[in-house]
Structure formats: structure tokens, C-alpha cells
């Protein structure tokens, strides 16, 4: 094998109390895509921060283009030709595509004037290369997330980057956008770029990557050719144990209808009728923008309902705020943990009891701490939440543990209907399975669960019944046994319109 473009060797990094990286090695070869995988907290982000010089390493060496290098910050590493495309894009929506690409490096004439013509021309070339069909003068904010990501890649290319690191690039992308991204990655590989692909989505790793490096608890577990691996072995390497069956289905005799929605109209929701039984998981599938999240938020009172009825055990409820929904026994756990789910600066305890705080209050709003602690510790225990104490700031926990806190917060309200919107997004494999087990436990206790997800295997594996949304309507409903990936996909792009009543 040829010399790698970039090599990180024996990297060590400690923070007070934790060894975040312990002898980690990563090789990036020209013309190859290296997957970097590991559970949340395995050290992937820390490794990238060490590479770009945000963190100073305690030991180990960086070799780039055959020589030892040292970067003092992301600006330096980018200049040297190593670009990172972060999960949260670093772009300015109010500027044009070209302005974004050349931000801080505008092409300047002799009088300090910007040479727009050159800039637009060069940006146009880059966009063409990536197959983006937009003028470089277009305002960035008008682009979809997938296209914005392409702009980030264009920016990386404009630096003449040799190494491009992508951190969870497909998290916010639709299937078509993902495909377009993979085409670009293939092209970059063909033109001799070295690519690091960080993802939780194992399927994608087998689709697009050549090699895979696995980290676990800050340790280097191994580097393997993807061709020699299968999904089970990869998971085993990541979690250090064999995970049996990913979706541990449990059979529960469904009870009465708990939630019934009739002809609901709301922003981007166009006449939806649905019902869920006790002890049942209803999967709701559909592409992004199909109105799934809007429907759930309307049921939860977070978006205004224009018309239609929502009833709980046959009793029609007026839901005009999340408070009304909580009182009616409906809990919604948002897909966007950081923006809508948790107060990251507050503690595990304060987050968990936030929405049910009234239950822990004596007269005049006095919070009875002993009761609160008992409830919080109960959930930390039952959910196996990995946190040093209940007073730990929630922002310091891993994604999976944050999600558990978020679910615990909802359950503190003792809901009859639990709506989970993308409950495993940004959650690692081990924690995913734990979350599935929890969902099944709730189901066994007779709770009604609505599971909204973009991940087909998750929907198919967990649900008893699946409804598919397309352009604000339910365009298909299947019992789990009859559903498969193709049927759901066809339905979600609007190919089939078979209305079945539950």
C-alpha cells in the first residue's frame, strides 16, 4: 500500500479525569474513503479537534504529505489542505453562494475592490463540478440543506484540499440528496482526494467507504477493509460485544383506542385522520417536509390546529398549547434535541423535571427536593443513563444519554400517548438498542406510542402499524407484517394512493 496522505499515529489526549484518546491511529490514503466509526463518546470528535489543532495532543505524531506537521488551529489546517465539513454547517444564509465560498479570501483588485466577475466564474466552475444547478449569485438561504452541504464541499475544494473530513454528512439529507452526495464522494475519490467519513449509519459505510477505523472509549480498536467486514462484526467492534437482534419486538394485545385524530388541518398538514391503541406502536414514515413533524407538533399544541378534532379515549380535547396536551396525557419528544428538547446549560435533574415540575411542588411553588431527587434517580437507574451525578450539565452528556434524559422528561408526565420524533437521531448503536428496549417496555405497560422516523429499518422493526405521509396527508397505512421498504418508499414519494382505514 502507498504512503498515506495523512497519518495520525499514537495520539493521546487527556482531560481532567478522562483519557479521551489513548493511542489512536488513523490513516487517510489518496483516492480512498476511510470511515471513522465508534459510539458517541468514543473520541471521534476529539480526534478531529486534535488534528486541526483545536486541542493540543499529549503524545503522538501527525504526518501529512510525507512530513511531520503541527497545526495551531482550523485556519492553518485548512490552508494546508485539510477541510472539515461539520454536521452543523458553517455558512451564512444571507450571503450568496460565491460569497460563502470565498468568505475571508475574496478576490481583490488593486484598489481593494472585490473582483466579482472572477469570483462568480470560479465559484460557478466548482458548482458545475459538483453538479449543483444554482447560479453562484443565489442567496445561500434559499438552498436546501443538501445543496448547502455541496456548497461546503465546493468551499473545501476551493482550498485545493487534499483531505476532506465529513462529520455525519447525511444526517439531515433526504434519500436523493444522499445519493447526490455519494456521487460527489465517488468523484473526489477518483480525483485522488483522501476522505474521512464519520457516520452512525452503518449502511452508508458499506456503500461508500473503502476502509474503516473503529474507536471505542478513546482506544483504537482496529482498521479494516470494508470488503472484509459485515454489519454485525462492525457493530461488535464498536460496542465490544455482540448485539443480538437489533429490534427486540414484543407482542402486546392492543387495548382501546387512546388517541384519535379526525380530519386535522394545520400548517403543512392537510386533513389527517389517525388513531392509536393502548399498547401499540404506530410508525409514521415519510420524507422530510412531508408534514410528519408538523402533524405531531399540532397534536401536541405546539403548532396551531386550523380544524379537525383530537380525542383521548373518546373524549374530545381542546389543545392549544403543549400544556393542554400534557394535561390530556400526550407527550411529544422533539426530533431536535438541542433546539427544542433540552436546556443544555441546565443539569440532568433540572431538565428531567422541567415539564412535570408541578408534581414536585408544595405550596407557593416550593420544589420539594427529596421527592425530585428520588424521581430523577429512579429514571437515571431505569434508563441506564450514564452521568456522573444528577447535577451534571446535560450538554456534557453523549447524544444517546441526552436522548434518554429527553424521554425521561416526557415520561415524568405519565403520558397515555408518547410521540417520539426521530428518537435515535445522532445516537450510537448501543444506546439505540437501549432506547428500543425502553420503547417496548412502555408498550408493554399499555402506553400508546407514535414513532416518527426516517430510518426505514427502525420503522419496520419497531412498529405494529405504519402510516406513511406525503405532502401533508396520510397516503398509506400498513400492518407491520405487510409492509416492506419498497412499499413505504413508493408511498412516501406519492406513487401509491391507497387509503386503508384502520
Amino acid at each position: 500500500m502507498s504512503e498515506p496522505l495523512l497519518r495520525l499515529d499514537g495520539i493521546e489526549k487527556s482531560f481532567p479525569g478522562v483519557k479521551a484518546l489513548d493511542g489512536v491511529t488513523l490513516n487517510v490514503h489518496a483516492g480512498k474513503v476511510m470511515a471513522l466509526v465508534g459510539e458517541n463518546g468514543a473520541g471521534k470528535s476529539t480526534l478531529m479537534k486534535v488534528l486541526t489543532g483545536i486541542y493540543k495532543r499529549d503524545a503522538g505524531a501527525l504526518t501529512y504529505l510525507g512530513g511531520k506537521v503541527e497545526f495551531k488551529g482550523p485556519a492553518e489546517s485548512q490552508k494546508a489542505g485539510i477541510s472539515i465539513i461539520h454536521q452543523e454547517l458553517n455558512l451564512l444564509p444571507e450571503l450568496s453562494i460565491a460569497e460563502n465560498i470565498f468568505l475571508g479570501r475574496e478576490k481583490i483588485g488593486p484598489l481593494g475592490n472585490i473582483r466579482w466577475k472572477d469570483m462568480y466564474a470560479e465559484a460557478g466552475e466548482l458548482l458545475d463540478k459538483l453538479g449543483v444547478k444554482h447560479s453562484p449569485r443565489t442567496r445561500l438561504g434559499t438552498l436546501g440543506i443538501g445543496e448547502q452541504q455541496m456548497v461546503e464541499i465546493a468551499k473545501a475544494l476551493s482550498f485545493e484540499s487534499r483531505v476532506i473530513i465529513m462529520d455525519e454528512p447525511t444526517d439531515a439529507l433526504t434519500a436523493t440528496e444522499t445519493k447526490a452526495l455519494f456521487n460527489v464522494i465517488n468523484e473526489l475519490r477518483d480525483t485522488g482526494h483522501g476522505i474521512v467519513y464519520i457516520s452512525h449509519r452503518l449502511k452508508e459505510i458499506f456503500e461508500i467507504c473503502d476502509d474503516v477505523t473503529v474507536l471505542r472509549d478513546g482506544k483504537f480498536i482496529g482498521e479494516k477493509a470494508v470488503a472484509d467486514m459485515d454489519e454485525d462484526r462492525l457493530i461488535e467492534m464498536m460496542v465490544g460485544r455482540r448485539l443480538e437482534e437489533q429490534f427486540p419486538r414484543v407482542d402486546v394485545e392492543p387495548g382501546k383506542i387512546s388517541l384519535e385524530i379526525k380530519d386535522l388541518h394545520a400548517p403543512r398538514v392537510d386533513g389527517v385522520s389517525l388513531s392509536v391503541h393502548e399498547g401499540e406502536i404506530l410508525g409514521v414514515s415519510g420524507l422530510m417536509g412531508s408534514g410528519r413533524t408538523e402533524l405531531m407538533k399540532a397534536v401536541y399544541g405546539a403548532l396551531p390546529v386550523e380544524s379537525g378534532t383530537i380525542s383521548i379515549f373518546g373524549e374530545t380535547k381542546r389543545i392549544r398549547s403543549p400544556k393542554d396536551a400534557l394535561n390530556a396525557g400526550i407527550v411529544y419528544i422533539s426530533e431536535d434535541r438541542k433546539a427544542d428538547g433540552l436546556v443544555l446549560g441546565l443539569s440532568v435533574k433540572q431538565n428531567m423535571t422541567l415539564s412535570a415540575l408541578q408534581a414536585f411542588c408544595a405550596k407557593l411553588g416550593h420544589v420539594v427536593r427529596t421527592q425530585e431527587r428520588r424521581a430523577v434517580d429512579g429514571f437515571i437507574d431505569a434508563f441506564n443513563i450514564k452521568t456522573p451525578t444528577r447535577n451534571q450539565t446535560v450538554g456534557n452528556l453523549s447524544g444517546g444519554n441526552q436522548q434518554k434524559v429527553s424521554i425521561a422528561k416526557g415520561l415524568m408526565n405519565r403520558p397515555k400517548v408518547l410521540i417520539l420524533d426521530e428518537p435515535t437521531r445522532g445516537v450510537d448503536v448501543g444506546a439505540k438498542k437501549e432506547i428500543y428496549q425502553l420503547i417496548n417496555e412502555f408498550k408493554e405497560k399499555g402506553m400508546s406510542i407514535i414513532l416518527v422516523s426516517s430510518e426505514m429499518p427502525e420503522i419496520l422493526g419497531m412498529s405494529d402499524r405504519i402510516a406513511v405521509m406525503h405532502e401533508g396527508r396520510i397516503c398509506g397505512e400498513f400492518p407491520a407484517e405487510e409492509a416492506d421498504q419498497e412499499k413505504l418508499m413508493a408511498c412516501s414519494v406519492g406513487k401509491v394512493r391507497e387509503e386503508t382505514t384502520a
Partner: protein, 321 residues
């Protein structure tokens, strides 16, 4: 108390150190000035400083709560003046002290709540809403007083009212007692009640707080109401001390209050901070004012010195974060 407070905010050792750092700064200042001027560290002078600090400190308590919700209240000085003037004229009309004080405090709470309503329901930025309120209430004060001071008069009621600003209880000035009470209650509210929890949550992430089923509008109105109430309380103390209400009273007080909050380590972005930090911040400003006077620094230079100290404190604070 401070330690417990920090733990309850789920914070780390670092924040504990920051809280103590302002305490250390305060201690150093006291030691240095005591060495430079023997009149500084005397019971009389300390009590004097505490009494002067009380005005700003009480306002700063309300400001802390507002800033914790990621808001700001620029109208505190104007509310102070208007409520002081209304209180003074009620006393001058011979109303019982309880009625005058109660009326002025209620008015303050109402004025604050109006700002809160404009911010919560009207979706106006707090800076703009309270800037408008500041101008509006100052105008109302000038109209109400006709631009002249309102004397509380020389009646028995006026004498009783004067106790609020000039009296002593067990050898300690009444305003200092009031300040202590206000801080105690605010500490309890922020750390042991539902409202306190909601204030931190709202400042930390409004959207998540709303989706948790919390009526954030009500929290905002309450918080600005409290800020107005406490401004009125300070206004009454000022009026009582001078036996008259000045139409220009309280001008610029919002900046001293904000400075105290920031010196106390509260983040202007909301969600982070402690009430005891604010107390220390207010004390630093109070002690500094007094020290500059005792050291015979010209009043022109005093502002420069004050600004420098605040800037240094905040710089040290951001550096360590």
C-alpha cells in the same frame, strides 16, 4: 449558600471559582483601601456604604432575574422616579404610610408587567420595549411632578415614612435590612421554587421550555413585574431618605444595575448566573464609589476609574471561561 446554589445549577468547579473570584476582588479592594485610608474600614463607613449600595443592589436583584431570562430592563430608573413621585405625593396628601408604600409598589409591579406584556405578547425585543418604557415613564414622571421635586411634607406620616430610608433597626440602617430581605427572598425564589427553575430554563432555551408545557409568556411578565416592583421599592427608599421625590431620580441606574449583575458573573445571554454573585457585584460598585471619594479622586476621574475596574473584572471573567 453560594456553593449549594452553584451545585443546583448543575455547574462545575469553574463557576464556583468565578463566583469566588469576584469575592476575592472585593476583599482585595477592601484591604488596599483600608491601608490607604484609615477611615475606610470603620463600622460607620461600612454601614454607610451598605446603605448606599442597597438602592442599586435591590434594583440589581430584579435585573438579575430579567437577564437570566435572556432579557434586559432599561426602564428601572424611570420606574424608580415615577413610583417615588407617586409615593411622595400620596404621603404629602396625608395617606397612611402603608397605603402610599403599597400603592407605589403595586404601580411599579404594574409598570414592569406592562413591559413584560409588550415583550411576551407583542414579540418586541426587550431592549427596544424597555427603552420605550424608560422614555415613556420618565416623561410621565416629568408631567406628574411638573418637573419639580415633590416634598413629603412635615406631617407625622412623613416622619414615619422617613424611617424607611433613614431609620435604624438594631443598629443597622433600615435599607440594609430591606436589601438583605430582598436577596434572601430572591435566592429562595431562584433556587427553591418552580418559577426560579422556569427562569433559568427560559433563559437557557426558550423553545425547549415552551415545548415542555411551560407558559413562558407568564414567566416573562412575572419577571419584569418583579423588576418593576423592586425598582419602586428602591424609589421609595430614595424618596424617604431625601423626604422628597426628584423628577430626575434614578437616571442611569439601569447601567449600575446591569454592571452589578455582570460583575456577579451572570451571562447576558441568559440561563446562567447567581443572585449572590449580583450581591457581590453591587458591593464592589458600592465600595468602589466610596473608596474613590475617600481617596479624594476628583468626580471627573471617578467615572473613568469605575469603568476601568468593571472592564478589568469582566475581562478576567471572560478569559477564565
Amino acid at each position: 449558600m453560594t456553593a449549594n446554589n452553584n451545585v443546583s445549577q448543575g455547574s462545575s468547579l469553574k463557576e464556583k471559582l468565578i463566583a469566588q473570584k469576584s469575592l476575592i476582588a472585593l476583599a482585595v479592594m477592601i484591604v488596599v483601601v483600608s491601608l490607604l485610608n484609615p477611615n475606610f474600614f470603620t463600622t460607620g463607613n461600612i454601614l454607610n456604604i451598605l446603605r448606599q449600595t442597597a438602592i442599586n443592589a435591590i434594583i440589581a436583584v430584579g435585573m438579575t432575574m430579567v437577564i437570566l431570562t435572556a432579557g434586559i430592563d432599561l426602564s428601572v430608573g424611570s420606574v424608580l422616579a415615577l413610583c417615588g413621585a407617586v409615593g411622595a405625593s400620596l404621603i404629602a396628601q396625608g395617606m397612611p404610610v402603608v397605603v402610599a408604600v403599597g400603592g407605589a409598589l403595586l404601580l411599579g409591579a404594574a409598570l414592569g408587567a406592562v413591559s413584560g406584556m409588550i415583550i411576551a405578547k407583542g414579540k418586541v425585543q426587550a431592549f427596544i420595549a424597555t427603552l420605550v418604557a424608560m422614555t415613556m415613564y420618565r416623561g410621565l414622571t416629568l408631567v406628574y411632578t411638573d418637573g419639580r421635586p415633590i416634598s413629603t411634607g412635615f406631617t407625622e406620616v412623613a416622619d414615619a415614612f422617613a424611617w424607611l430610608g433613614t431609620g435604624y433597626l438594631l443598629g443597622i440602617p433600615v435599607p440594609v435590612w430591606i436589601m438583605s430581605l430582598v436577596f434572601g427572598l430572591a435566592w429562595y425564589l431562584l433556587n427553591h421554587t418552580r418559577l426560579g427553575r422556569y427562569i433559568y430554563a427560559l433563559g437557557g432555551n426558550e423553545s425547549a421550555t415552551k415545548l415542555s408545557g411551560i407558559n413562558v409568556d407568564r414567566v416573562k411578565v412575572t419577571v419584569y413585574g418583579i423588576a418593576g416592583f423592586l425598582s419602586a421599592l428602591s424609589g421609595l427608599i430614595v424618596t424617604s431618605r431625601l423626604s422628597s421625590a426628584q423628577p430626575t431620580a434614578g437616571a442611569g441606574y439601569e447601567l449600575d444595575a446591569i454592571a452589578a449583575v455582570v460583575l456577579g458573573g451572570t451571562s447576558l445571554l441568559g440561563g446562567k448566573g447567581t443572585i449572590m454573585g449580583t450581591l457581590i457585584g453591587a458591593l464592589i460598585i458600592g465600595f468602589l464609589n466610596n473608596a474613590l471619594n475617600l481617596l479624594d479622586v476628583s468626580s471627573y476621574y471617578q467615572m473613568i476609574a469605575k469603568a476601568t475596574v468593571i472592564l478589568l473584572a469582566v475581562l478576567v471573567d471572560t478569559k477564565s471561561k
